[in-house]
Point group: C2
Chain length 124, copies 2
Amino acid sequence: MDIVISNTSGDPIYQQIFEQISAQIIKGQLPSDTCLPPIRTVAKELRISVITVKRAWEELEHAGLIYTMAGKGCFVSSLQPNVLNAKRNQLAGEKLAKDLEYYKTLGISLEEIIAMLKKNYDKG
Amino acid sequence: MDIVISNTSGDPIYQQIFEQISAQIIKGQLPSDTCLPPIRTVAKELRISVITVKRAWEELEHAGLIYTMAGKGCFVSSLQPNVLNAKRNQLAGEKLAKDLEYYKTLGISLEEIIAMLKKNYDKG
DNA sequence: ATATTGTGTATATACGATATATACAGTTTG
DNA sequence: CAAACTGTATATATCGTATATACACAATAT
């Protein structure tokens, strides 16, 4: 499970986990019915509480990306590529709409945003 | 004072206020030494506590955008246009760098981001 | 069968950030 | 100098996040 927790980002841990796992599922890196690692294992690896991992798993289940079998584990849902792609576009679109509000508030033009994007995209 | 509070955005009230006032200062809509309205007035208009407004004012002061005279009020700092522009670019740049992380996590290409931007920029 | 080990779940709690009401202190103004 | 205005400080409430610990269910080895 490739998860990286940032303590400086300000985003809640459970949300960081959700974003990373959901992205992996949406990109097809975690095929249908793949068994996610036990929450205790993830908690130990990341040195956080099992409850926090469970919270992330709950969000994933609520988003329809995984399903739970009590006593067995959690598994990646069976979703068609077009459904995954729709979810991808939805997540990106919602985020972009909100991000745009801030840039507009600051009076940044479309051209300026694009210029900054091109400068930054290949860095980081 | 043009301030709009959203209860659905998830962002703290004081932060929403900070972002909007700082943007107005940075864009030159609030000239140097303009007296901000009393925190009680803003609190009454927005139907929030004076403490929350004060919190926003504190952030503005900490950012060097306003200064306080006890008993008199809070005023817009005297900053040169190039300083304001630097602050604008800094705020936008930091935000964009963080936003980009998420798009990259979702595997969105630079071209896709630009396409979404162009579709959405003139809406909202 | 049943004890053991592994899975997710529920309860009760701690902590920090946000937001609040109310009382306080400094400055202007009549 | 009193009244009316400014920002400030203290103590409190509430909510989201994160936690430890105890619980319930399923698989599996004996």
